[in-house]
């Protein structure tokens, strides 16, 4: 009788252990599937690359409009340099970048892209730590992100330069649980 009870106790104990291990395993599985991630995004890198070629409204002294990439290197070389209309090159750079990214990403707490942060800085070739900040643009509130997508672009400064200019873009995406509306309906149906 006692031996039977012992065996029954053992069986119940074994079954309990199996159930507990299975529940823990299922919890890990669910967490693993739903993990939010920071990822390098080709789309954001392509956006940065396209932005570098954007023709701004800042004209050089020979009346030629400058591209964003040229404004970045000019702003880094001399922060007091001016456009033909008298604005500082760095201010023109910030204004043009802000406008381009606001229209391209359409950040807002009710949209898919909640916020973005753009950092432009000079750094060493191998060391990624910023040596000199050129521009830092933020839009929106960078909290409670479902995921963070990033992109980066390098502006080289010539063979004899001790470093490069790094342009980093981080975008805070809304989570699937957030109710978001599309900036446009996204369809091409007539």
């Amino acid at each position: 009788m006692i031996k039977n009870k012992k065996a029954q106790h053992e069986m119940v104990g074994f079954v309990l252990i199996v159930i507990i291990v299975s529940i823990i395993g299922l919890i890990f599985l669910v967490l693993f599937v739903n993990k939010s991630s920071n990822s390098q995004s080709d789309l954001m890198s392509n956006l940065l690359q396209a932005t570098m070629y954007y023709t701004t409204d800042c004209y050089s002294t020979n009346n030629e409009p400058r591209e964003v990439e040229v404004l970045i290197t000019d702003c880094d070389k001399d922060s007091n340099k001016k456009c033909l209309d008298g604005r500082l090159v760095c201010d023109a750079l910030d204004a043009n970048l802000k406008k381009a990214l606001d229209e391209s990403l359409k950040p807002g707490k009710e949209f898919k892209n909640k916020a973005y942060n753009l950092s432009i800085y000079f750094r060493g070739i191998t060391n990624r730590a910023p040596v000199r900040m050129i521009s830092d643009i933020n839009k929106g509130i960078f909290t409670n992100c479902g995921s963070v997508e990033g992109g980066s672009h390098i502006v080289t400064l010539g063979t004899y330069s001790s470093g490069v200019i790094s342009v980093d873009l981080l975008v805070c995406k809304a989570s699937e649980a957030d109710s978001v509306k599309e900036a446009s309906d996204g369809s091409f149906n007539e």
């Binding site: 079954v15 080709d42 690359q49 396209a50 954007y54 229209e103 446009s184 309906d185 091409f188």
Partner: protein, 182 residues
């Protein structure tokens, strides 16, 4: 003794059957969670394949910029491809469009100014082709949309320069619907 050992064997057998059934149920639930979005995954892979093809498209001879800029589409080349039916079977997309400037990104289709030879470059959307497939996923990628612009200084003097905007290339692929027979 025989009865005792037989009982033990029976106990072990029942326990093993119970454990196997239990783990089978757990495995089935796990597989159900992992593979619940198989059509969604198939569409995501098709989307990824389209994205890769689109990135390569901007650097193809039909669209690439003369000044060797990467990820750049030459608007003057793109506008000449409108209404050319030769390319409908050349690219693996159901539709191919280019949005020429960022101010049009958030416009609806009906609000965009459709490009033609007459109104280029003061327009928003170049439609290279559209096979009008029912059930299409559109993938998009940012590109630099560049064209030659003339700067007039007066007195018959002027120069041309590269004017570039942030644009978007939009390509369609057919949507795999679990309810469709194909």
């Amino acid at each position: 003794m025989n009865i005792k050992s037989q009982l033990r064997i029976q106990e072990m057998a029942f326990m093993l059957v119970g454990v196997v059934l239990f783990f089978s149920l757990v495995g089935l639930i796990g597989m159900g969670i992992l593979y619940s979005g198989i059509y969604k995954e198939a569409n995501r892979l098709a989307d990824q394949k389209t994205f890769g093809a689109m990135v390569a498209l901007a650097d193809s001879p039909e669209f690439s910029c003369v000044s060797s800029k990467s990820n750049c589409i030459d608007g003057d080349k793109a506008i000449s491809l409108i209404n050319k039916t030769n390319y409908v079977k050349f690219w693996p997309f159901t539709s191919l469009r280019i949005i020429t400037r960022y101010s049009a990104f958030n416009k609806g289709y009906n609000q965009m100014i459709k490009c033609s030879i007459a109104n280029y470059p003061n327009c928003d959307l170049i439609t290279i082709y559209d096979k009008k497939v029912a059930g299409e996923i559109a993938s998009s990628n940012f590109i630099a949309f560049c064209r030659k612009e003339y700067q007039d200084f007066g007195n018959l003097q002027g120069r041309s320069y590269d004017k570039c905007e942030i644009g978007m290339i939009v390509a369609g692929t057919e949507y795999k619907n679990p309810k469709s027979k194909t």
